[in-house]
């Protein structure tokens, strides 16, 4: 695979994109947030050090979802009033990207959906039902969250966001959906909860004493 290579406009370190569609990345050395333009990389911000967190996943963790292998290339860390969670941006070996969410060791894998006519945030309430991809989803929780930090490659520019509302939905069969209200136009992600063991993760973090 050809990996686009560039240099950090801030510190000159080599920047490698592992996923060709990445729009944004963070320089591993100077923590500059870099956005790809047609010609080069532009520094648009700076990531403060991420708070210590307990996720066993890290950039470069590899795993399997069904018969597809994936590698973790980026991450968004969110906070809400009950704590924080990670959305790990994973690159599948078929070139698509997905999100592996890790909320206190509860894992779910989801991917962007093209569904149209998504409800506005003000119209959504807990218990409401929506049908997407022949599945009936029930709104389980609405979470006002705060964007805490980013790492690695992301499929969109996500450096100037602060607050965001998420609507989580579930089906009776373990499917899972998230409505993301970061942007004026809502975004829908469809996926399912996954078992840690089934992901067959490699290159995990190690914990002192474990």
């Amino acid at each position: 695979m050809t990996q686009p290579v560039a240099n950090c406009p801030n510190c000159g370190a080599k920047i490698v994109f592992r996923w060709s569609s990445s729009v944004q990345t963070v320089c591993e050395f100077c923590k500059s947030i870099l956005v790809r333009t047609d010609v080069d990389l532009k520094k648009v911000g700076q990531v403060a050090d991420l708070p210590p967190d307990s996720s066993p996943i890290q950039i470069n963790t590899e795993g399997k979802y069904g018969n597809k292998a994936f590698v973790v290339v980026g991450r968004i860390l969110y906070e809400y009033d009950q704590g924080g969670w990670n959305e790990w941006h994973v690159m599948m070996n078929d070139g698509t990207s997905a999100w592996l969410s890790d909320a206190q060791s509860e894992y779910a894998l989801s991917a962007s959906s093209k569904a149209q006519n998504l409800p506005a945030v003000a119209q959504v309430h807990v218990g409401q039902q929506f049908d997407w991809s022949d599945q009936r989803y029930t709104v389980s929780v609405i979470t006002p969250a705060h964007y805490r930090g980013v790492e690695g490659e992301l499929p969109f520019q996500y450096w100037d966001k602060t607050d965001v509302t998420f609507v989580d939905l579930r089906t009776e069969s373990g499917k899972f959906a998230t409505l993301d209200y970061s942007d004026p136009e809502p975004a829908l992600y469809l996926g399912e909860s996954v078992e840690f063991d089934d992901l067959k993760l490699k290159n995990l973090r190690s914990f002192e004493g474990w």
């Binding site: 470069n60 206190q104 509860e106 389980s140 579930r170 914990f207 002192e208």
Partner: protein
Amino acid sequence: MSAGTPPLSGPPKPQAKALNCPKCGAAIMLRSFGQAETVVCGSCRSILDAKDPNLAILQQFEAATREVKPLIPLGTRGKLRGTDYEVIGFQRRSTRVDGITYYWHEYVLFNPYKGIRYLSEYNGHWNDITICKQLPTDEVGAANYLGETYKHFQTSDASTDFVLGEFPWQVRVGERAAVTDYVHPPRVLSGEKLDKEVTWSIGEYMYGREIWDAFKLPGAPPEATGVYGNQPSPVTTNVTGIWVAFAAFAVFLLALMAGFDMRAKKEPVLHETYQYNRAESKGETSFVTDVFELTGHTSTVEVKTYAPVSNHWIYLNYALINQDTGQAWDFGREVSYYSGYDSDGSWSEGKHNDAVVIPSVPPGHYYLRIEPEADPSLPSIPYTIDVTHDVPVFGIYGIAFLALLVPAVVISWRSYTFERSRWSESDHPPMELSNMSSSSGDDK
């Protein structure tokens, strides 16, 4: 540097954090690498904000009763379902039903890769609990989870009254939640409603011995008392299956009996009526019958005796004798019949008939030697003897039938009494127990 290598200055390995209580200065260990929301000081009972580097005090509580000691000390590691877990938190919760307070204990277990799971303990009954990854669906008086129906067991208010260690949520003493339990032994499905949000968890029954083994605890686990809601029945056999098997076997036995009955020749070989006269029978009373022939294979011989006695008895000493070999079968039969009236009305005892079957008699020529004895007050009586060759014998089938019936009944009864004990503790006690449903409460 290649793309696959994380920076050398990568984050250090997360370590358990040692801090001090801002209230009393006691050492506090944070074992969950930041997964805890709250941590409780073991010395002064301050509930602290585990997310705050300064451990802001969120609540201070007085242990309402005497000290509650976890059966598994905080920090203990054990292997549960193949994964190492460390006990990081402990709470005691209680509920009041019909004026009786019931207490149970919950342990928070942590593994940095697998996350959190819980153990609960009530009166020596344990459950291994995880948060449901899927939503159960409501049914009437039941809930469905992963295609299985869980029967409603109990709905009660649970309040937290003692906490220790770390919790992945904002724990507070005094907080109340409405807990609804549905059971499908050995599993229990629990919905915990706090404010508007319902958290569903799924538990599986565990024996104290398994917990003690998993955590290598010294001594013996506390004896489990009573029957717990999702405790698996000791009757592991499927009761319905037993009755199906029993019915199948009974049908088989009946077919076998019918088959043998049809095959039996039931051939009459002797039919004689004799007269017993006391006057004539001074001294030797025995005589022999005519010779009859038993043909075919070795089989049974039935000797029937009929005497129209009334408030008397007659006793016949029989010998079936093989004329060819001299082999003899000796047996005595009594025919007696008594009846009358007393204060309870009419009564009767005994019969006019008697029948006996001699098994395995080889073919040959036979005669009977008969020596009658009778009631001294009986002057004279006729009696009839019928000898039939090759009759079916059903006694063995009766024994087989009982041998099958008894275990089926015993198992059904044990299952029934166990289920009755289980449901007597629920919101749906069996009818006859509904007035005393909480008589076996635990009020420690």
